[in-house]
Symmetry: D5
């Protein structure tokens, strides 16, 4: 543990977050997502809820403001009448850290899987809400270091 | 060994079963199946019968109810008059854990091999019944954890 | 995830629990414990509380009833007036799974570190209660399998 | 699988049996034995009974006839009134393959653990009989190959 | 070494032979064959003659009787007048273990190389006869184990 | 890079800092220190000055307040008249983060080497001031997380 | 450290520079570049500015004079009005070491990424100037060693 | 070192030469060749001249006499007026070991690179003559071992 | 294979022989020797006779002439009336390569095992003669290379 | 290769030289030295003479001026009348880089071996002069970088 960094963030997770660069993507996968079979790099956060993890990382992790939607959700399957209250929760969390009005892009289930395979890492969680998988795209850090 | 988990399940097997997610497949291969040459991940259960292993894992392992057939068998070669009593045995075992009426899909031998190559794992067994190879597709765990 | 197994238990944790045999020990270490430097095998459960993890594993993990105390706590440093309410919580959890009246042994801080080095695994958690580190010693599984 | 070799013997087990030389020891450990923590090399035969495994390997594996007792059992703890019928079963199996009248040596539990640590391999089984752990010492193969 | 298994068979070779399943192929390559550059798995039997190795493994290794020719030789290059007495020798050896009348298939040199690349293993030998490379295809073991 | 974390801190360095627990030590070694030969874990920060690195990590890294001196310097060799202005600089940096009045312990050169060997990690830097090597001992993070 | 070699150059960096041959490319990536996800070999120079690194390596590293432009920059995105003063700085540095009048080639952002993937190595830096990523192509060393 | 084998040949080089079979190729690359980036297997002979290495290996290494040209050189770039005296030197060396009249094939620079990628190994040398890279193709050893 | 080197010598064996220096020892172990459990480095020559291997390596491998006995045999166990004709055979082979009159040292069985553990390598053979294990100590190569 | 660095220095050698710090030692071992069996890290410079290597590295590698003798030779065995002209050659080379009057320490053969085991690296060369092994102890780089 380190000062000012949430204890939900493991040493492996922070290393992966820090190694990522502009445009790299990370998937927060719910408990049923086929994470191990799709991950280029697998980070275990088993048992945690995704929104707790987002709350932990968003103060550190910049979202990509060069694209229209820095986050991606899995589209509700056609005909499915399920409600997805967690999306509102995600939106509230993200809006504290980005000025993008509509932060989400939506992709179909199997396209989501293909995208997950190419992501820099997949974080396996214990999330059990419906349609809770989310992909974040990393932006840039731009403090004026040199004058 | 752990309480409530069959002693047929080795530490490696349970890890693989747990890592799998929705839609991942696992092959239970008979003693003559070319398991080592086709497996992405190979789990050794040499000497055991497949139905004993199914009986051990099905209480833990959810079948995929989002597809028509959560299990796949190798189609009897055309012209072959062999009988496959083990299929009935498998069906009885599976019916305790799924409400799918017709749990099995059937694929031709070489298509079965190709499918096995893409599976998350192959379990090498000592099964000696004919046409006993079986692929299971993992479903989801959906207890209401969060209120 | 698997049916009947808590989603707090990661694939790595269950593998380690299952590999352990009679007399092997596992340490649940709080967030400040030097886990990585002392562990023969390190299991990451960062961010979780130890009592949640105990609640998750005790239904599966038998305690050693061949020794007087199947669990070990870190003795309060002499002169320290701290209270350790978590010990009562642990005791309540353990008493559901063992008939040992006094489940705890107490060892001094540096002796505890030495013991941790020899344990089969250390589980790194995010626990933040005082004196919350605990070592469990594995017992045996003894159902009458063979007649 | 190969002709004339029991299907209980996995590729890893036969490799280990063949690599062993005169005087090397192998432990067949019951389901509760701390095999993973003590093994120089660990072979998984989870779920099998030790006597089935002995029956499978003894036709291939020569016992050491240069020592008084080519096999070692764990001594019954003093005061313990348990009976050990499996020892008779082991004796019957061994007598088919060795002319040693009294094949067993007996060592105390912790000495047995130390011996297991130095063995060439430990075979983890699902054996559930009491006092069923057994160490075999390999002998020599001496067919007259050269004239 | 083990009882009843030729001392020409190394621990690595028996492991590979046992891991192979129905339809997997193994190449016995002569001393000049580019084995290391073509092998998925390389087994060193340097210095041995291929017929000695065949004699050692055929009692254990079932040939595939589901294909017309369970063994493959390298076709004599067109125009080459060389004689290949070793083929007769191989045929005699194989006929003890298969009822296939014409056990050999013949493929052209570079097709043979491609086939070798896909084989489960290549055994590097010291064979020095001409056109002595041979590929064997593994069959099945079918004793009635279960009643 | 992450928000709020200095760009001098590499992904490997933050992982190591986070893995460390109470009482673990880390060495910041100057450019001539035999870091690679003494390090249990080596972190490359070649070319950087140690005080820049301390300034980067001290906001994150708690010093051990359970010991008299959470930092250790290499004692000036007897008879050596060198001045060590960097120590004052270090002291100023440390005093922002600890209330310990005299933060430094001093050990002789070869004892310092032995201590470095046991440290959790050595950070190789490009520091070129005299007697600039410094060992930090990690303390605890104690925010009231649970009520 | 070695005499005459800048202390900014780590052992890993010099090894990579020396292993490279005629035509191999190396990328110096700014702090936001997705270096870890694109690198065949990743060299950590976190926290350093690219121009300091170029100043350190150019005395050692020959630029390719067989191509029109031995260095490559990322083209300014169309419509972007940003200024790129660092390019002038790079040009001044390079002109000390090459007689090529116009050392730079310019490629579009995503083509730059593809090129980076094929480079021999990517050096991750802490550079924070805009459009500061640069690819260098190695030339030859041609002292008259043999007469 | 071994009797009768040049001290220029390292243990790694002889192993590679011996593992190669009929038709496998090895590249002797000059000091500027991009060896590390193109090699399937890299053998370090840094600092040595290629002709010294050829003199060392040719007594051991048979050239392929089944192809028209057992050796390959890099074609002089069109328009280039450079002279290549080293080729005569190579030819003299090779003619002691092959009866092929014109031992060399010539390929264009980038085709040469592609060929090098597929070679069994690349030997990195310190050769500084122009156009000195050479690929050798291994032939067969054919002493009458069996009567 | 290479010209002038016996085809009994595998690439691994020649590499080991060449890596050895003055005073390093190599064990040629018979088929029953516990080679895998005692070897620092294990070289497989399964199925070969030791005298064939000695005949293959002695032209290359210098014996140590700085010690009284460059070779070591296992002493016949006291009271054992076995004859050891293979020693004469070894002596004849060695005398072609050393002027030492009495090449052999004799050590007791368990001391031999300890010596084998410290040897640079153990060569596992199929030798079946009695008391055939032999340790060779490498000498120096001393051709006058420099004038 | 890099500008200003001898082509005798391989990428592995320069990395090792650069990783070494004050007081670390490196052994340049002649062709008969048991380098592979004694080296913590082995660097292959097979075929080169030690004085050529010293000439290549001494411009880069600082000798330790904090000890009486920064270099160590192997003492001539008592009674041996051999001459060691190479020592004068080494002395001339070293004197260009150190002001130490008597650069050499001398240790007995087996003490030299023990010292070599603890060295940071052993460089295997092809040196064939008598008593040519030499150990160098690294000093410090002390340019005034910071004002």
């Amino acid at each position: 543990m380190l000062r000012g960094i949430s204890r939900l963030i493991s040493p492996s997770l922070i290393k992966v977050l820090m190694e990522m660069g502009h445009g790299d993507e990370i998937v927060f996968a719910d408990g049923n997502f086929p994470a191990a079979s799709h991950a280029e790099r697998l980070v275990s956060c088993d048992g945690h809820q995704i929104s707790d993890l987002l709350e932990a990382i968003l103060p550190l992790f910049p979202l990509d403001e060069y694209v229209s939607h820095p986050a991606t959700l899995m589209k509700v399957v056609e005909g499915d009448t399920v409600r997805t209250p967690i999306w509102n929760h995600y939106q509230n969390l993200l809006q504290k850290y980005t000025e993008v009005v509509e932060p989400f892009d939506y992709v179909e289930r199997f396209a989501f899987y293909e995208r997950a395979k190419k992501a820099y890492a997949i974080v396996a969680t214990g999330e059990n809400a419906l349609y809770a998988n989310i992909i974040l795209r990393k932006g840039i850090i731009s403090p004026p270091l040199k004058e």
